[in-house]
């Protein structure tokens, strides 16, 4: 087997193992409230600004493009429809995941990786605790919970941005675009996007932690691992987005 393929399968195996261990730790013994809330705060709440910024401008530029692109067909009126669908089903979940993934996932790898190369991960075990319980589980759980919530926010802000620009560019009323969006969006569209973001959240937490735990080679190793995490998370999100979209289209229609 080529070594690249072997590495991929090893990585998938390790991630499945770590996932199983995290799920076990989540339900075993007292619930780790404090650790999970800390991670929700650091990874979730602190990511709101970047989410708002990205979603707002994406909605704006999207409606700009549609308003002008649909003009020759006399269909600029439908800009609000297209923008809201595009944001809620696709761009909201994926852009949020990519940005938060870069921000939070790399942070996880840097922190756990540094702990690993300074033997703090070994120390956790030597002092009678479990690194999966103390480090991995709270982060993965927090991210899986936080990303869908961030995505809802991104959806709202994205649509708002789209609404503003549509009104300015197409010359329709706010009320018109608003009603058009409300009419267009169905609950399955939201479910479709949120289901994906739950999985993306898990991917961000898991890849960040997994790559941190396998960091070696001092501070240089931490740098390499952190960079890799950003690439791994981005690729994983983009590839799984396609697969998940295909699956959810089959489920939700």
């Amino acid at each position: 087997m080529p070594s690249g393929l072997l590495q991929l399968f090893t990585a998938i195996g390790e991630i499945i193992y770590l996932t199983r261990a995290s799920i076990r730790e989540l339900f075993k013994g007292p619930f780790e409230w404090r650790l999970i809330i800390t991670q929700l705060d650091l990874g979730g709440i602190d990511s709101w600004s970047i989410t708002v910024l990205a979603a707002g401008f994406t909605g704006m530029v999207l409606s700009l493009q549609f308003a002008i692109g649909l003009e020759p067909f006399g269909a600029s009126m439908y800009t609000g429809k297209l923008v809201s669908l595009g944001i809620v089903r696709e761009l909201g979940p994926v852009l949020t995941a990519l940005l938060v993934g870069g921000r939070v996932g790399s942070g996880y790898t840097a922190e756990i990786g540094s702990m690993n190369v300074t033997e703090q991960v070994d120390a956790i075990r030597a002092l009678g605790a479990d690194p999966v319980r103390k480090l991995v589980m709270p982060r993965v759980f927090a991210m899986t919970l936080a990303l869908p919530l961030l995505t809802i926010m991104a959806d709202i802000i994205g649509c708002l941005g789209g609404l503003c620009i549509t009104v300015l560019e197409v010359g329709v009323t706010v009320r018109f675009v608003y009603e058009q969006m409300v009419e267009t969006l169905e609950i399955v569209d939201l479910l479709h996007g949120l289901s994906k973001s739950v999985f993306f959240g898990y991917l961000i937490g898991m890849i960040g932690c997994w790559n941190g735990l396998r960091t070696y080679g001092g501070t240089e190793g931490v740098g390499i691992a952190t960079t890799r995490t950003v690439v791994f998370i981005s690729v994983a999100i983009l590839v799984s987005d396609f697969a998940l979209t295909r699956i959810f289209l089959a489920i939700y229609g």
């Binding site: 702990m115 300074t118 033997e119 703090q120 070994d122 120390a123 075990r125 030597a126 002092l127 479990d130």
Partner: protein
């Protein structure tokens, strides 16, 4: 002679294609201070990590207090780690926590007792390492020597029977080296613990050692008292003890 409480038998360990141990045999007796010496990168720390189950040997057995470490389950390992504590090379204090939270960490994990009892224990162990009143500081505010001493306080908090020291004096100034050596000795006398010290600092070796073991060619090349070591004919050992003074031949 005191009973042997820890025993390595025929242990081998390799990382990838780099073999570290092929046939490691070593017994550690109750109450003694055993130092493990050897060149850099020969796997002295690996030996300590295998002993508390942080690494698994490829083959062979390790017994501690009559139990086989390699076959212990999670619960068994937890109990073992309450009896054998380890001081890591860089102290491995948790950066995100204060000194107090660091020392409480093992107390919480091993269900030491009430909050007040834990607070009292933190005071006690900080006194033992001569650093009272620094509970609220963060590890980043401490010097290298202070970190080691806090790390030591954290290791002894749960009253272990055996303490493993991974290069406790490496990278410290002479004053701190002497202070750490003094602490190792006084803990030995006051608490009656067994100490296993990995080092390549010969001053440390001769200050604190009852017996020393030399890692040489992927096994223990020599075990004995410092006096026996001086008289031993193994060239590598005598060179090591002299600290590289004298003639050092290329083939070493």
């Amino acid at each position: 002679m005191a009973e042997t409480i820890i025993e390595f038998q025929g242990v081998s360990k390799s990382f990838g294609d780099k073999s570290v141990y092929t046939d490691l045999n070593l017994g550690i007796r109750r109450g003694e201070t055993l130092t493990i010496i050897g060149g850099s990168g020969v796997g002295k720390s690996v030996c300590l990590k295998m002993l508390i189950g942080l690494m698994r040997p490829d083959s062979g057995t390790i017994h501690a207090f009559g139990e086989s470490v390699t076959t212990l389950d999670e619960k068994g390992l937890l109990h073992l780690r309450s009896r054998i504590a380890m001081l890591f090379q860089g102290a491995a204090l948790f950066d995100s926590m204060s000194v107090e939270e660091n020392i409480k960490y093992p107390l919480v994990e091993h269900n030491w007792g009430t909050r007040a009892e834990m607070d009292k224990r933190v005071d006690e162990v900080l006194d033992m390492v001569d650093m009272p009143g620094i509970q609220k500081l963060k590890p980043a505010e401490l010097s290298g020597g202070m970190k080691k001493r806090v790390g030591l306080a954290r290791s002894i908090a749960i009253e272990p029977e055996v303490i493993l020291y991974d290069e406790p004096t490496t990278g410290l100034d002479p004053v701190n080296v002497r202070r750490i050596n003094g602490l190792i000795l006084s803990l030995q006398e006051r608490l009656g613990v067994t100490s296993v010290v990995v080092t390549h600092d010969m001053d440390t070796v001769f200050t604190i050692t009852d017996r020393l073991a030399l890692v040489y060619e992927e096994r223990i090349g020599f075990v004995g008292t410092p006096d026996e070591a001086r008289a031993h004919e193994l060239r590598y050992l005598t060179e090591f003890i002299k600290g590289g003074r004298g003639t050092l031949s290329e083939d070493l």
